[in-house]
Symmetry: C2
């Protein structure tokens, strides 16, 4: 499950977490290895599952008027199958960008990205208000995503 990283691996990951489009040659130079050695490291990180994916991040504001919505969800009962069913639903919902199972008064925290309040209204109807296992939910609305970093601090 876990994976031993040495200083060089950490170095590579810190760079790739900021910019995965860097050429292997440049990366090799920055970490002080030859291109082949560097490539082998990166491949190993990919194959071992440390690097899950390499993706393009786009600015939501450039492609529409998106709203971030945070939803705190409380289920009626703390049962595994109820939790699992809910997770599966959230996984299938395209509006849901993040889903966390949390401890405490609340059971789940959802992060949504929607075009407008109408879309959110539709979402609640389809996924929340009609779920018999859901006790209550609270909505927080954000027009500003002030920070968004995908990097894991190493």
């Amino acid at each position: 499950m876990s994976f031993d990283l040495d200083r060089i691996d950490r170095n590579i990951l810190n760079i790739l977490q900021k910019d995965s489009r860097i050429s292997n040659q440049d990366l090799a130079e920055r970490i002080g290895l030859s291109p082949p050695a560097c490539l082998r490291r990166v491949r190993r990180l990919r194959e071992s599952g440390v690097i899950v994916a390499e993706v393009a991040l786009i600015n939501p504001r450039m492609v529409g008027r998106y709203i971030n919505i945070i939803v705190e969800v409380e289920m009626v009962r703390d049962q595994l199958d109820i939790y699992d069913a809910f997770k599966r639903k959230m996984d299938a919902a395209p509006e849901v960008t993040q889903c966390y199972q949390v401890t405490g008064e609340v059971d789940f925290l959802l992060m949504l990205l929607v075009e407008d309040m109408e879309s959110y209204e539709a979402f609640t109807r389809k996924y929340l208000s009609t779920d018999a296992n859901l006790a209550k939910f609270r909505t927080l609305i954000s027009l500003r995503r002030d920070k968004f970093s995908t990097a894991v601090p190493l």
Copy 2:
């Protein structure tokens, strides 16, 4: 600020948001354009700021025992300069991976990634408990990140 996307651009973005390591040739084939034409599109999306970055996503569980922490923060007063100062602090804090200014009872929602509760304890001391403009905060702890997608649904 905004940017007109046609069907082809959207198509490109949907692919790159899932896998930015795809070769330009394969991408070109999938969207039905020649490699040069495809490359120009992608370059334009990058230069215009639609594509903010291309990054490697790593699995936190593979490199340590990370905990997700969600913090809801309420400031003492709804003043612009107080908000801005807080944002700047969060931007500088490496533990904070996301920061949203929200409307309603709460003022900010933070997403943190920390090694253990001790690290979180240290964070609250350094950034929260000592902030005179901060009225109160509530902590939600998550050991499970059930869904995490960086893709903007287009």
